[in-house]
Symmetry: C2
Subunit: 451 residues, 2 copies
């Protein structure tokens, strides 16, 4: 059952917890999909959540816990002892189990694994293996659960294996074929399996042309590959080609969304992963760093303009166009860097040399710069601004467009080479730098031509 | 075979086309995955592409064409007659075929469909049905190809159906169960099918608890559902619950990526879908609209500051802090709107009323505003700025942070209510508006306290 969360429903649940209507809660919650049940938890306090989790079946509770977001879950699991946590983990996939274990304190982590080892040696071995990988590589998001067949098997043996693993492997798209050394040789699609006779050997029906990924590859690379080849799952191998695990598309969708989110934060100058309903202090803290950097830029700008105090006293109208110059520099810079960030992310083939790319940027800047400068000159003339000031503003504007284009193009390329997220270049950084650059150009040109 | 595209390889291909090494091209290309072959096409000119497409097998060529991006494909297919295009379309899924048909001129569209109708009435009917849907609803991205079983069938009949459809249905995750009126009743997983006896009836093994989507739902809603419930495919039904088609995860990954891309463009003020290697004119045109809006904002700002020319002549130092004020307003506004855009996109449960949300925004603004104002006052005092000017700047800065927070929060909410992409609020729009607002606050405060 899918649900529409309403305030009435949440109140009803809270009321049921207060009155310990355990049967009602069990029935209501187990009717939901686990991911919906997890969403309800966000609206309850920790004690209410714990009460509900304890009423519902362990396997359902385990799934709900695996869907709760890491931050909430961390606080929540503090209230369970290690044995209790271990008893949930046995119901969920190894990759999700490892995520949860990683959120525990080191001591509890050991205890939980020891408890799992006591009941299921294989599951514990899986977890220990997966714990070795960093979170941002293929090994860190793969699950150990998969259906594997030896090449000398027949279809009947494959189906037996599927039956044996039926409980462990929830999503099942194909059978991975290995040799006696566990080296990945190929794949048998479900369709092939269904349409083949029982005693056909795997060798005769498997497809040796398989896309796989090494365990050390970055998750973003894995996401790109799965997207490009439209895969619902990809096998993970070690350097020798031994089959280690498999990554399914749902994990990769998370990677894609996280990347988009991270870039958005970089572009808007927010330094932490926050949401609108986080508390005021967290929200303020996440936003201050870039605001302070922008402020320092502004103060530097103030010092710089201060150098021209005498000129300003003579021609106060020079000040009128400061916002025009800085805003245009900022906008042009953000646009330029955003285009570069996009082509860095898509990893599209760039046969053009850096020189050719910069040449194109230059051309675009010349066109945009000329159009803007001409428009501003026209407006200023119509509005009766002095011709020499109008002239200075347009020249400065043109120079600012050129410089900001160049800065906006080069900065993300340099950041990327340094291994820093190039999307940062579309954020307050480039805006602040371009503000200063724009001011410098404007006042130098104005000082030369007006005073 | 996966490939690493190099300039040498492209030259080799170009050379092979020039010398009409048809066998070499056929062999080389058919060794690739279609998506890789499509990428090579971007590096060749149209005539080279056409020559290659004509050398390779029709079914492989069809897949390559389905992977080429729409803009390139549109130009490319101009060189094929309707019959030729129809002959390719029969090899690809109905949803991809419809995408391609939509890119053709109206007259050619009719011709192509007529050609398809002559060889395959069912395929033509599928295409005509899908053409009815808008691109941004579930019906517009679904494919008609799927495996369907009637509830009174047995497993053996299902497998027969799979065999019959094997060529048409490439991705196969489960069998959809319908009644005699084609009403969707549930689903049989592949695993269940493999593990059941031949004469078990579908009725005994199907799962009636199925997540489906109506054809008129927006694609983004579909993406959210598939992501939330970790689905690799979702059946599409009409309002009566009749099974119409199915959407697979690869199409939804595209939806997710397009959304991120569209937001990024909105945030950076780029009005078209462009890439770094597009031509100079396209790049300039896509960027100009927002630059001009920013420019108009700048000119309005100039007029506004002009009102205070006399005050500026008296206290030229007032001009020093213009960039600080406008930059801070811009940064705060972008941050605020970005947080709102995020919570609008995640459609997370917002039990808080608008009032509560604004109150929290206000608190955050007060904290950030106080910190920035204090820091600026400190710096200005240390740097020897006059105390009353330092005081004015800090008061104005605090007001600007408050106002920009409010604007940044309200604008995306209003845009969203009007059905406009709220991410636009994080772009040049909010920056320009905040520039003007900031200037107004600063000069009014300064004029009141200084002159």
């Amino acid at each position: 059952m899918q649900i529409e969360l309403t305030k009435e429903f949440i109140d009803q649940v809270k009321d049921a917890v207060d009155n310990q209507y355990s049967a009602f809660l069990k029935e209501t919650f187990e009717d939901f999909y686990p991911t919906d049940a997890a969403e309800i938890m966000y609206e309850l306090d920790t004690n209410e959540c714990i009460y509900i989790i304890n009423q519902i079946d362990e396997d359902f509770a385990a799934e709900v816990i695996s869907y709760i977001d890491p931050v909430t879950r961390k606080g929540f699991l503090k209230n369970f002892d290690s044995e209790h946590i271990a008893s949930y983990l046995k119901f969920i996939d190894s990759d999700d189990a490892v995520d949860i274990i990683n959120e525990l304190a080191v001591k509890q982590r050991e205890e939980v694994i020891a408890h799992i080892e006591r009941v299921n040696k294989e599951a514990a071995a899986y977890i220990l293996e997966l714990l070795r990988y960093e979170e941002d590589v293929a090994g860190g998001i793969m699950a150990k659960e998969l259906i594997k067949a030896y090449i000398h098997w027949n279809v009947k043996q494959c189906i037996e294996e599927i039956r044996r693993q039926a409980e462990n492997v929830e999503r099942f798209y194909s059978v991975y074929v290995v040799d006696e050394n566990e080296i990945l040789l190929g794949i048998v699609s479900v369709k092939k399996l269904l349409l083949s006779q029982d005693y056909t050997t795997v060798k005769d029906i498997y497809d040796p042309d398989i896309i796989c990924v090494e365990s050390y590859r970055e998750t973003e690379e894995v996401a790109d590959m799965m997207e490009k080849y439209d895969l619902e799952a990809i096998p993970v191998v070690n350097v020798q080609g031994k089959l280690l695990g498999r990554i399914t598309i749902d994990d990769v969708v998370d990677v894609i969304k996280e990347r988009a989110e991270r870039d958005r934060q970089a572009m808007t100058g927010i330094s932490e992963d926050i949401e609108e309903d986080d508390n005021v202090w967290m929200l303020s803290r996440a936003r201050l760093p870039w605001l302070v950097i922008g402020m320092l830029g502004g103060l530097l700008g103030a010092r710089f303009i201060g150098l021209f105090e005498a000129s300003l006293a003579l021609v106060p109208a020079m000040a009128f166009f400061i916002p025009l110059i800085t805003a245009t520099g900022g906008n042009v810079g953000v646009q330029s860097s955003s285009i570069v960030v996009q082509s860095l992310a898509s990893k599209s083939l760039m046969l053009d040399s850096l020189g050719q790319r910069l040449l194109r940027v230059l051309f675009v800047a010349v066109i945009n710069g000329l159009v803007l400068a001409a428009l501003v000159f026209g407006f200023n003339t119509v509005l009766g601004e002095k011709t020499n000031l109008a002239f200075v503003v347009s020249i400065a504007l043109f120079c600012v467009v050129m410089l900001a284009s160049l800065m906006g193009t080069i900065t993300p390329i340099i950041l990327d080479k340094l291994g820093i997220n190039p999307a940062l270049a579309s954020g307050p950084f480039i805006t602040t730098a371009n503000d200063l650059l724009g001011l410098a150009v404007y006042f130098l040109v104005a000082n030369m031509l007006l005073i």
